[in-house]
């Protein structure tokens, strides 16, 4: 789960990582008030969206007066920012971070992420931050029993170009960042840039965090930072129901059980020259009601021309899946071709139930056959809204 920069900075502040003083704002009035509270002669108004590259997209602006703060806030709020990470659709700016303006002497990069091969948290750092020419990335694997040792932190700090006088400050910062990462169940943390200011402070000027979704049950403060505006509504709804949802932009809706099967189903469709609209994975232990709910989500797509259900019953029994499908298809008055392939636990019973349901279902025995039927029937179905 991703959070906003201002929320990331709150997390850092709580764990003793120095950040610029600043406030989150939702209106030009709040932005002006925040600048007044911060004092000083200059401020930075930063658009808050879940994407990097905000600076290059014009989402970060300096202001030297209250009037200028108001103008920037007014222009940014409600605008759509497009960065390489948002894709062409861009993201609407709904909140801002108003911060003290700092004079940067030198910029660095500091990141942490779980390294699955090493089975540890990897710390990466370099002597250039925020879009400057990339420099050598220095890397350290953190011992989960000991955390970041003082000597390790000092070594990294020296490697990326801090001087001896600054080592104690950087050491504490790195150790505190790891504390935050560990205590909050982060999956990724980036301070980009980490800066040395003209007045000798070392600050996290950027803050980007992702958290382990499996650990949110014990991180209520983090879970409360979720911003539904930043999520694809279908994806958010699927997530709340315990499904995983991947949009693809085509016209064939897919319902599967299992991440591997989801990708294989996508492959099979592509090999037949089609593109999935989306793939909804109900996971292992779904109930009939959950399958029905997932099927309703699949059908809600505006450009659907066919639906492919590919279920390999293990935990999820085929008859249970069939009951869910039948219930949802009846209530939705299904109007596009439905291809179903069911294998595994209770497959015969599942197929019998589907056969007796009176629904127009195209049965397939194998994955490539199912994909072929789905692609062909999508092509012969008019686009929704076309006459």
């Amino acid at each position: 789960m991703h959070i906003h920069e201002h929320q990331g900075k709150e997390v850092l502040r709580k764990y003793g990582v120095p950040v610029p003083r600043g406030h989150a704002c939702f209106s030009p009035d709040e932005a002006v008030e925040a600048a007044a509270r911060l004092g000083g002669r200059a401020w930075v108004v930063k658009a808050q969206i879940h994407a990097g590259g905000k600076g290059q997209a014009g989402g970060v602006r300096r202001a030297w007066s209250a009037a200028e703060v108001r103008r920037h806030a007014g222009e940014l709020l409600g605008t759509t920012l497009r960065t390489p990470q948002t894709g062409p659709a861009g993201r609407v700016v709904r909140r801002l971070l108003v911060e003290e303006s700092v004079e940067v002497e030198q910029a660095f990069y500091l990141g942490m992420a779980v390294d699955r091969d090493a089975r540890r948290v990897a710390l990466t750092a370099s002597g250039a931050g925020a879009g400057r020419a990339p420099q050598k990335l220095h890397r350290l694997l953190v011992d989960p029993a000991a955390g970041v040792r003082a000597a390790e932190a000092d070594g990294i700090a020296r490697d990326i170009g801090f001087s001896g006088r600054q080592l104690p400050q950087v050491r504490t910062l790195v150790q505190n960042l790891y504390q935050a990462f560990d205590a909050c169940d982060a999956a990724r943390a980036e301070i980009d840039p980490l800066v040395l200011t003209r007045d000798g402070r070392i600050l996290a000027l950027g803050a980007s965090f992702d958290f382990d979704p499996s650990a949110l049950f014990r991180q209520p403060e983090i879970a409360a930072m979720r911003d539904p505006h930043e999520e694809d509504p279908a994806e958010a709804e699927a997530w709340r129901a315990g499904f995983s949802y991947t949009p693809f932009g085509g016209e064939i809706g897919c319902l599967v059980n299992g991440a591997g099967l989801a990708r294989a189903t996508t492959d099979a469709i592509r090999l037949h020259g089609g593109v999935p609209a989306h793939v909804l994975d109900v996971g292992g232990g779904a109930t009939a009601e959950q399958v029905a709910e997932a099927f309703r989500l699949v059908l809600r797509h505006p450009r659907l021309r066919a639906v492919l259900v590919n279920v390999f019953g293990g935990l999820l029994k085929c008859d249970v899946a069939a009951r869910g499908l039948i219930a949802a298809a009846r209530e939705a008055a299904l109007s596009v071709p439905l291809v179903v392939r069911m294998k595994g636990t209770n497959e015969t019973l599942g197929r019998t139930l589907l056969g007796q349901s009176g629904l127009a279902i195209i049965h397939a025995d194998q994955i490539d056959e199912a994909a072929g039927f789905a692609v062909a029937s999508a092509l012969s179905t008019p686009r929704p809204g076309a006459h």
């Binding site: 779980v114 699955r116 091969d117 089975r119 540890r120 948290v121 989960p144 029993a145 560990d182 169940d185 999956a187 382990d212 499996s214 650990a215 049950f217 014990r218 599967v256 059980n257 299992g258 991440a259 591997g260 099967l261 990708r263 294989a264 189903t265 996508t266 492959d267 099979a268 592509r270 090999l271 593109v275 996971g283 292992g284 232990g285 390999f312 019953g313 293990g314 935990l315 294998k343 595994g344 636990t345 194998q366 994955i367 490539d368 056959e369 994909a371």
Partner: protein, 285 residues
């Protein structure tokens, strides 16, 4: 023959009284030699009771001491699952199979760290378990899609392991052991560990490896195969078709360069394996 487990394996179920633990232990007992294999359950609050004729103990150590079981399977909910693995490791079991999905990454980092230098092997978490067809099934896979034979299967995906077994079945080809290594970022045995076991198993003639994206397990396994493997290997990674992910394409290219027989088509995995073994290949051991 087989790897890791066979009809003589004795198994403890951790989390036997939960919904998944009850259901799947019953299913596993109904498969192959399951009645004799599943000998104990563990639940600290229900020690002394019995479930469907299986005695429930307070700790894994007690269950092991009383029954001689050397393997456990875990259906404990995510917040407590890593601690359940720790307990099985501390009891000195040979193999722990963790089915639980959604264990926090941080817990698994700590658990793997604790396991360093211990003899216990971990399979999973977030995997379907493993099966030696007709003998023993430990986990959640549908038993009837597998048949006894001489092909090894190692898969990062549960449903694709079923898919592969079902495709092999169409050619009358059975499996020695099918191992689901699980899809989590931090897990136990990787493809490479299982591949080495299949290489050493006299009753395995060829292997199918179903990979996934993320991490370098499949690629280092392919390198190992290139240098050491004595048997043909079929490799598949989902997402390697044009329009899919760059990572999957690269992994498949590495597999191919290392001498694996690869396909990007998930429907052709069984057929590809069948084409490698002689036409008069008898799928029996």
């Amino acid at each position: 023959m087989s790897i890791l487990v066979n009809k003589h394996t004795r198994v403890i179920t951790q989390g036997i009284t939960g919904k998944a633990g009850q259901f799947h232990t019953a299913m596993c007992r109904d498969y192959g030699n399951g009645r004799k294999c599943f000998v104990a359950g563990v639940n600290p609050r229900k020690a002394g009771k019995s479930f469907d004729g299986i005695p429930v103990f307070g700790t894994v150590a007690e269950a092991r001491a009383e029954t001689g079981a050397t393997v456990s399977v875990i259906y404990v909910p995510p917040p407590f699952a890593a601690a359940a693995i720790d307990e099985a490791v501390d009891a000195g079991l040979e193999l722990v199979v963790c089915i639980t999905q959604g264990i926090p990454v941080r817990d698994m980092i700590r658990t793997r760290e604790r396991m360093a230098g211990r003899r216990t092997l971990l399979l999973g978490p977030n995997g379907p378990g493993l099966i030696t067809p007709d003998e023993i099934k430990i986990g959640i896979m549908p038993g009837h899609v597998f048949q006894r034979g001489r092909i090894g299967v190692v898969s990062r995906s549960g449903t694709l392991a079923y898919e592969v077994a079902s495709q092999l079945g169409r050619f009358g080809i059975g499996q020695s052991t099918v191992v689901g290594v699980g899809g989590d970022a931090i897990g136990g045995l990787g493809c490479i560990d299982v591949m080495k076991m299949f290489n050493d198993d006299p009753r395995t003639d060829a292997v199918i490896m179903v990979g996934d994206t993320g991490g370098s397990d499949e690629e280092s396994c392919a390198q190992w195969i290139c240098e050491h493997m004595q048997k043909p290997v079929v490799g598949f990674v989902a997402g390697a078709v044009p329009g899919g992910g760059e990572g999957a394409r690269q992994t498949l290219a590495v597999m191919k360069a290392c001498g694996l027989h690869v396909t990007e088509n998930p429907a052709e995995i069984g057929e590809l394996l069948a084409s490698l073994v002689a036409p008069d290949y008898l799928p029996f051991d």
